[in-house]
Symmetry: C2
Subunit: 331 residues, 2 copies
């Protein structure tokens, strides 16, 4: 099998993605980030084949998801993308076809999110495909996790649980013998919608400026709504009450829940939502919701911050739900 050398690989596939001046065509060991308005927010997410994605996921969505999980972190901090570095560890069986698809996926998102490639490192790995992206963003105000105050409202963008249900759909496609019965009860369209949410997150970049303007605390939901809200509340030194019925669900997720009501735990604790979970002062909710509507991102109030620590999720009858361990562990 003839494969390009590292230099050829960089020149052929990666350099065309690095068109900004500070990247110097990837001919250097380092890059220069331009100055910009506001605060420089940096984040780094690693993605490992077999842990964070399936090795046989489409190469373009593997690349896009690795970038988008970082952009989701930036958006939740109130930051719009400014660029990224790509660390790529190629396994022994990498192919040029894979790399071509991977870079096509990156090219689409580099344009879609105005997030240029500045540099990185390409290495061989005697193990699984390893992606390590560092993303840079600019925020008028860095919105931290710590910042929620008693009396604030808890809100969330988009819909919750689709990523975790989509993971189950994707896993069932790879191993039909392990498919849960609810998956067969969905329409093909519903399965496709859930699978799509798992494969390709939609970072809420369009809402970043509104988050910076209105949120008191924020983070993206990547390890499950319940566990991530618990983290935000703990570091803020407060608690919360969440109304289960207020948590926004997609039509496909509602279909799945009708087929198997026990999936509610998956919806609340599963990972891969990549929505923004935030708190805001009661008076800030109206402008936040208006800004969200303007950019076409649903933003739903789901609870209130309380002075006492811990948080509870209540159903429509006022009963406290038991969500189990309450956390999706990528680790």
């Amino acid at each position: 099998m003839s494969r390009p050398t590292e230099d050829d690989l960089i020149a052929r596939y990666l350099a065309p993605l690095a068109v900004v001046a500070g990247a110097d065509g990837l001919t250097d060991d380092a890059a220069v980030l331009p100055e910009g308005p506001g605060e420089l927010v940096v984040t780094k997410d690693m993605a490992i084949a077999g842990v964070h994605f399936f090795p046989d996921d489409p190469p373009a969505t593997i690349a896009a998801k690795a970038l988008r999980t970082n952009l989701s972190d930036l958006a939740a901090k109130g930051a719009v993308p400014a660029g990224f570095l790509l660390g790529l560890g190629l396994p022994p069986d990498w192919t040029e076809d894979f790399l071509a698809g991977f870079c096509e996926g990156l090219a689409v998102d580099i344009a879609a999110y105005a997030c240029p490639l500045y540099g990185g490192d390409t290495v061989k790995v005697p193990g699984p495909l390893t992606i390590s992206i560092t993303a840079f963003g600019r925020a008028k105000r860095w919105v931290r996790r710590r910042g929620a105050k008693a009396g604030d409202l808890v809100c969330v963008t988009g819909t919750i649980g689709d990523g975790a249900l989509g993971l189950a759909v994707r896993a069932a496609e790879r191993d039909p013998t392990a498919a849960a019965s609810w998956i067969g009860g969905l329409t093909a369209t519903e399965r496709g919608q859930l699978r799509g949410r798992y494969l390709l997150p939609q970072p809420r970049t369009a809402l970043a400026e509104a988050v910076a303007a209105h949120a008191s605390a924020a983070m993206d939901v990547s390890d499950g709504l319940a566990g991530d809200l618990a983290k935000l509340l703990k570091v803020s030194g407060v608690g919360a009450t969440v109304a289960a019925d207020a948590v926004p669900l997609s039509a496909a997720a509602r279909s799945a829940l009708r087929l198997d009501p026990l999936l509610r735990r998956t919806v609340f604790t599963g990972g891969d939502d990549y929505e923004i979970l935030m708190t805001c002062r009661p008076g800030a909710f109206a402008p936040l919701a208006e800004a969200a509507e303007t950019v076409g991102v649903p933003c739903t109030r789901i609870g209130e911050v309380t002075a006492s620590a811990g948080f509870v999720v209540r159903d429509g009858q006022g009963n406290t739900l038991d969500l189990g361990p309450g956390r999706f562990e990528h680790f």
Copy 2:
């Protein structure tokens, strides 16, 4: 075997390393880099067990080398360290002892190089230990690889070849049956010096400001002097003549060469030097050398840049040396 959860691991081992305000105690998904003087230089090097280091190297030097290879890139660009992000992929057999040693190594260098930890990501890897560091630096002027002009002098810091010879020493210690005879001919002190250069690079951070002030082009020597110089010349559109006898060697490397003259190729083309290779206008060499002497870093003139492409290495008799493929391939 009881091991900490991801949150406990971060709180116990990594958060104590992240004491700057922008890191927020590693309780957030992102960090804020403060504004600073000059240009913001970013670089990213990955290090994989079994590829870039031996899995049984001391945990503290594994960590320090992973950070220092990035700091070496920064220094060669004229940048002093401003902070870093750590991506850490832990293999299935990771131990808390390893992590403790690893973080001790980082703590020492964070202090020594004034390079605080800002954040990162910790994941499990069904493969080798994977380290992905992104380092930030500040430079009065970003010194690129492209910039060498005909008539410039070629110079290099420290001594060349110790890292590659040290790798051979380290490999021989791990597998004595494969040891080359020259290794047995060295004194234990010489072997220790070479091993030390392989295990723990000395990034030339102290010279960064002088590089920014005086170099016309620069890069760090990580893949071998010959191959790295070829890259710098190619992207600058020039060539060079290098005097083999002028290339600075340590006493230990000279001992090895006396035992086996064929090691000259290893010295010129082996990797892991982490010295700065640079070009400067003839008039800039005196102030550069003076600055180098002030900070205690040897800086040696080894050749001249020529208008014609390609480069040759000549011995004391004026004969051109054949260095073979001329490049160490980590990839």
